[in-house]
Each structure stands twice: as C-alpha cells, then as structure tokens.
C-alpha cells in the first residue's frame, strides 16, 4: 500500500471540501417570504424589513430606537431592523448594494443625488405605490426635491434651512445690541470690526467668516462649497433651469469678490491656520467661542448648547446684500427615505416609509430639534422657536443637484482655492469653474 498516495488523496479531498465549503453558505439565510404570497388565507409570516440609516450617536440613537420599537410593537407581522451605516459611506454602499442585488428594503438618504438614482433606476418610482396622493402633505420645496420627471422617487423626511447664529455674550461685550442681529452683508462687516480680536498677528477671535459653518447642501460638506449658499443668497444661480452650468454671471463674480474681501480682511495664512484648528461637532469654532457669527443649520443650536452649555446665542435669518429676505436667502438640504428599485417587499417598505415621514418625523422633530418636510407635522408643533423656523421656510430654497453634474462641488472647490490663494481673480476663477462644470456635464451626458 503506497501510503504517500493515500496521504496525498486525503489531503486533496480535504482541500476540495474546504474550497466547496467556502462557496454557497452566504445566500441561504431564509427569508420569511419563502411561502408564496398569492394565497390570501396563508398565515401571515413575519416579514423583516432592513432599514439603513446613518444615526448612531448618543444624541440620535435613542430616538431611532424608540421609533423602531413603536413600529415593531404596532406591527407584529412586519418587523423593522435598523442597520447603521456611517454617513460618508451610506450612499455609496446603498447604490452598490442595489447593483449587487441585495439592497436593504428601505433606506434613508440625502436627497441631493436623487435625480441620478431615479435616472439610473436605482430608486423605485413611488407613484406605483400610491405616493402621489401624499404630495400636498409636504412643503412644495421638499416635494420638488423628491420628484424626477414628475414622479416621486422618495418621501421627504427632514429638511432644514440656514440661520445666522450670533454669540450674544460677545455682542454685549463689544457694545452691540444682543437683540439685533445683522441684517445686511454690510452689517456683518461692521459688526465684525468690533467683534474681531487679533493678538500678536494671530486671530484670537474672528467676528465672521463666510466660508465657516454650513451654507451648502449637505452632501458636499467643505468650507469652499459654502459659496453655494452665498451665491443663491445674492440671487445668483449656479445652473440654469435646464440644469446647465451658468456660474460666471455678474452676481456670482460679486459674491466671489465679497468672499475674497473677507479672506483679505484676516489675511490668507492667518485665516487658513485659524480655520485649520476646527472641524464640526464639539470642535466647532462658534461653539468654542472663537467665532462670533456663523451660518449654520437649525439643529446647530441644540448641538452647540449640548457641547457648550455656557454658550449664549441667538439666531436671525441669513443676511442678504440689501437686507431684504427672499425665497433663496437660505437653502435647505433634504433628507428622505427611498425604496430601492429591487427591494423585496416594496408594499411593506412603503408603509414603513410613510410612517417614517409622518408620525416618526413628528417624534424626531421634537426630540432632535430638527425640521420636518411634512406640513402637518410642522404645524402641530406650537413652540415659538419652531414656528420661527416654519416662517423661515418661505425664505428657503432647495437646489436639486443637476443630473449631469453630481460632483459639481469638485469643480467649485478648486476655483475657490485658486481665488483665495490669489492665483486667479473672481472672473478667471469662475470662468475655469464654468469650463470644468461644462466638461463634467458633457462627459456625464455622453451616453
């Protein structure tokens, strides 16, 4: 008996078995829909919906848990399982999972790139599930945000706006009236003259900086992208109504000049070093008392006070060049809930999506200090602070990301960088941005 042959044979069989064991185990997790759903008398099996969201912090998670528990208690046959996916990965992972054929049943999303997902058939057309009837429940801006070619592809959930926050202690300290926030762009400059504190050539406290804070649609967070909000605030446009780039207009040039003026006020390297010390959250310059005025989201108030309970702040609508508020003085991001085109339980997913956009939205708004896209929910909350935000909605616009320029911020950022570094003046920087955006649109629409 040739033992070497026997040993070789056993070794090879073990290897092949281990190879086969590696394949084939993953996709066998039984889904509760194994039994056919055609027979109406079939006993109701539990359906588990997988729902992706980006909230896991100690601030947000308890509300999520509460909402999920409320739903699960009321719907024993349709259970929802919340899965956390980090904010900066969730859209990429969602799209990848749709392509791979194993998407979640329902997914919370940022609405900025919804037109792409609708166009590429990644998000499901919700009018087939009866969503069109819900149109009037939502603020028109937010309903537009979820619409593509006249059909809704998501349900709006939260929107927001932007406010100009200011530190009332700083105002009192320098002799400004803490009850009167800035109204015009000039006010910002004049107030900052008093509020700035420069020590030894370094900025100890900055009165205001237009590129600080958040004044862009959330999917494109970066300080340079904040020019988006200011351009719209100045009644400029970035894209014309056919979604083609139209960024090098006089108004936009003036806005860029204004931003550059602020940069020169402090000095490029001083303001760059200053801003490099901060990020968001607990290390936000306003929260740390290093910046007296900033444009931020409605939820910023709650976050800042949580991180720094000694902060005394107030908020006013975002100042405009001439002080008059108009429908684009502030902008909003949009968050919604989508059903993937290849979701396995679209009807149940839609029921949960409706719940999320209405009852759950009410709970979330109150607990998280956020702003619902649903009008009924907004009207039901009677506090003054909240109704002030509702009022602000008339001055808030939503800029839908142009279908062929999803990465528009990538063309704006270098233009702003070049402007601030002094390499180009506003006109040249914007001309380059226009060219970059035009190339982007051409590349993306060339099918």
């Amino acid at each position: 008996m040739n033992w070497r042959k026997v040993a070789a044979g056993i070794a090879v069989s073990l290897l092949t078995v281990s190879l086969l064991a590696g394949c084939g185990s993953k996709n066998e997790a039984p889904k509760a829909t194994d039994a056919p759903k055609t027979t109406a008398d079939a006993p109701k099996e539990k359906i588990e919906l997988e729902w992706w969201g980006w909230w896991a912090s100690a601030q947000r998670k308890p509300t999520i848990d509460k909402i999920v528990k409320d739903w699960n208690d009321k719907h024993p046959d349709v259970q929802v399982k919340y899965v956390y996916v980090p904010w900066d990965q969730i859209l990429t992972k969602y799209v990848a999972s749709v392509a791979a054929g194993n998407p979640p049943d329902v997914c919370s999303t940022d609405l900025a790139l919804l037109p792409m997902r609708a166009n590429k058939k990644q998000a499901m057309d919700l009018s087939t599930l009866g969503a069109a009837a819900m149109k009037d429940e939502f603020f028109p801006n937010f309903w537009n945000a979820v619409t593509f070619n006249g059909k809704p592809y998501a349900l709006p959930w939260m929107g927001d706006s932007r406010f100009l926050y200011y530190n009332t202690d700083h105002f009192k300290e320098v002799g400004l009236d803490p009850a009167k926030g800035p109204v015009t762009w000039d006010d910002l400059w004049k107030f900052a003259d008093k509020l700035d504190k420069i020590e030894n050539g370094k900025i100890a406290r900055a009165g205001f900086y237009p590129l600080a804070g958040n004044f862009a649609t959330t999917a494109n967070i970066s300080s340079q992208a904040n020019v988006q909000g200011w351009i719209l605030n100045a009644k400029g446009t970035m894209f014309d109504n056919r979604a083609f780039p139209a960024i090098n207009s006089d108004v936009t040039v003036q806005t860029f000049d204004w931003v550059k003026k602020w940069d020169n006020r402090y000095g490029r390297s001083q303001i760059a070093s200053f801003m490099a010390n901060f990020q968001g959250g607990a290390v936000h310059p306003f929260t740390l008392g290093k910046l007296s005025m900033v444009v931020e989201t409605p939820t910023f108030m709650g976050e800042a006070l949580k991180n720094n309970p000694n902060l005394k702040m107030a908020r006013v609508p975002v100042p405009t060049p001439d002080g008059v508020q108009h429908p684009a003085a502030a902008l909003s991001s949009g968050f919604g809930i989508e059903i993937p085109a290849n979701s396995k339980h679209p009807k149940e997913a839609f029921e949960f999506a409706k719940y999320w956009a209405t009852e759950a939205a009410a709970v979330w708004t109150v607990e998280q200090n956020d702003f619902p896209a649903n009008k009924k929910v907004a009207d039901s909350i009677k506090t003054d602070a909240f109704q002030a935000v509702v009022k602000q909605m008339t001055n808030t616009t939503y800029m839908q990301t142009p279908l062929y320029a999803p990465a528009w911020a990538d063309a704006i950022k270098p233009a702003v960088d070049d402007l601030l570094a002094g390499k180009k003046d506003s006109k040249a920087a914007l001309a380059d941005a226009q060219k970059a955006l035009t190339d982007m649109v051409r590349d993306n629409s060339n099918k």
Binding site: V95, M116, S222, A272, D410, D439, N444
Partner: protein
C-alpha cells in the same frame, strides 16, 4: 541544451496533475476574484458602464477623452511628483535607520521596537493625527520650526505648494516600518568584508558606501519596486487628509479614479484609468528590472 525527452512520462503527468489539484483552491480564487474581474474591467473600459443602467460599447472614447482631461493629467503629475520624492526618501530613511538600529548599543532591542511602530500603526486614526501634526498653528512640526527660529512656517495641508511635501514627509515616517526588512539584509552581510575593509583603511562612511550598500542592493531593489507600486497607488491619505485639495494639488490618480467611479458613476471611464495605471506600473517595473543589472549585486553571482 535540448530536451532529452519530448513527451513527459506518465509519472510526470500524474505528478503535475496532483500539484494542480493542490493549488486548485487558490487557482479558482484567483480566476474568480482577480483574473475574472480584471478581464471584466478591461472590457468595460471600452463601454459606458455605470453599474445599473448603461453598458454599451463605445470603443476608444474613454481612452481618448482621458488624454484631454485636465484633471487626469493633473493627477498623473501629482502622483508622479509624490512617487519621485517619497520612494527615494523612504528608502534612504529605512536604510539609515536600519544601520543605526544594527549598531550594538544598549537599548538596541528597544529602538528596534520603536522603529517598528509605524508599521503597526495604520488606518484612519493615524492619518487624522498627522493632520494635527501638520496643523499650521499648533502642530508639532510648525512648533518645532518656531523653536528653531523659523517663524514663516508653511501652511502645509492648506497650501497647494506644501500639501504634497507634507504627504511625502508622512510617507517617510511610514517607511521607518520597513527597517525590519533592511535589518534582515544587513545581518546577512559577512563580517569579514567589514574587517577586510577596515584593515585596508576604509572609514566607516566608505565602508557603508562600498560594502553595505552593494550587498544590501537586492533588498533595496525589492523596496524600490514595491515602493514605486505603492506610491503610484497611494490615495487614501489624500482622501482622508485633504480630499484632493487645495486646488487639486493632492488629487492623486487613485483618488480621481475613485471620484469618477463612485461619485460620477462612470465605471467605464474609471476602468480605462485603472488599465492605464496597470500599464504605467508594468513599464516602470520593466525599466527597473532592466536597470537593475547595472546596480544590483547578488552575492555569489559571477560577473
């Protein structure tokens, strides 16, 4: 020398079949997870693939578009700049550190451990810490420069002229982790050569240049190849630390490809970029192998 037998014997055939069976798990994995997707991307580089809705043949359009794409050319410049500076710097740092650690001094084992730390400290947190090291006001580097008397310190990651040097400096720190590889090479240098050299009156520096480096050259060659490959494909540092800015000065090849693939959803275009990178890497590696005949000295080789 001609083969004695033209056909392999039955025993030889069976033996090779058994060897293939042994490596079949790996072979299958390679075909399914590496070769298959590579061929798929080659095909899709000639299409307008975007994963979920289009997959039509467009011929050479992606490739011709790439050569007029200003950002693509910028990313090649950025990546080339980074590679040209970070690879030699990394090797120099590694070799010098290895020579230092090889000295028989008290605490040698402690130094070896410390120098090995960069290899095990990886990931996002290290990159974020480096952002703070380069902070213009409070970072370690500018503070040290201030102490030495230099007050006009650069803005590092916030300045388009200093962002790449900052990343190159960071790569030199990471290169310290390769000390272990050079150490292994150093220890294989025969001691008699050093003794003979010192008998002939060679200074330590001369010994380093004429004995250590030539005998270490196979290791250095290995690090050159892997270093170039790594530097050409390095982009996560830019993505986390600078997001490609300022002014696209750290827009590396891989970062641009990631943006095209996952923000613009133009997979066909990104696939073309991937294959071009493969060719660039193959050509550079080929040149290195050809040039190695001149400077890589394998002990025991008759020359």
């Amino acid at each position: 020398m001609s083969k004695k037998r033209f056909r392999p014997s039955r025993g030889e055939v069976r033996e090779s079949l058994i060897s293939y069976l042994f490596i079949s798990p790996w072979l299958l994995g390679f075909l399914v997870f590496v070769a298959g997707p590579m061929l798929f991307t080659l095909y899709s580089s000639f299409t307008n693939y975007d994963i979920t809705s289009t997959f039509d043949w467009v011929g050479l359009r992606n490739y011709t578009r790439l050569f007029t794409d200003r950002l693509f050319l910028k990313s090649i410049y950025n990546t080339g700049y980074y590679t040209v500076f970070s690879v030699p710097l990394g090797i120099a740092v590694g070799v010098l550190a290895a020579v230092l650690v090889n000295l028989e001094i008290p605490g040698q084992k402690l130094f070896r451990t410390i120098f090995f730390l960069p290899r095990i400290l990886t990931g996002l947190s290290v990159l974020l810490l480096w952002v703070w090291v380069f902070n213009p006001e409070q970072g370690v580097i500018n503070s040290l420069l201030n102490v030495v008397g230099i007050h006009n310190t650069p803005l590092w990651l916030n300045d388009e002229h200093w962002s790449k040097p900052a990343l190159i400096i960071m790569s030199a720190w990471t290169a310290l982790g390769s000390v272990v590889i050079y150490l292994a090479g150093l220890q294989s240098v025969p001691r008699q050569l050093y003794e003979a050299a010192s008998i002939d009156g060679a200074t330590p520096v001369r010994q380093f240049l004429s004995v250590t480096i030539p005998l270490l050259s196979p290791t250095i060659f290995f690090k050159v190849i892997t270093g170039i490959n790594g530097a050409l494909q390095s982009w996560v540092n830019a993505m986390v630390m600078t997001k490609g800015g300022p002014s696209d000065s750290t827009l590396f090849y891989g970062l641009y490809m990631y943006r095209i693939a996952f923000t613009d959803m133009r997979m066909g275009y990104a696939a073309a970029m991937a294959w071009i990178m493969l060719f660039i890497t193959l050509i550079i590696t080929g040149i290195q192998f050809w040039g190695s005949k001149r400077w890589v000295y394998y002990e025991g080789e008759g020359r």
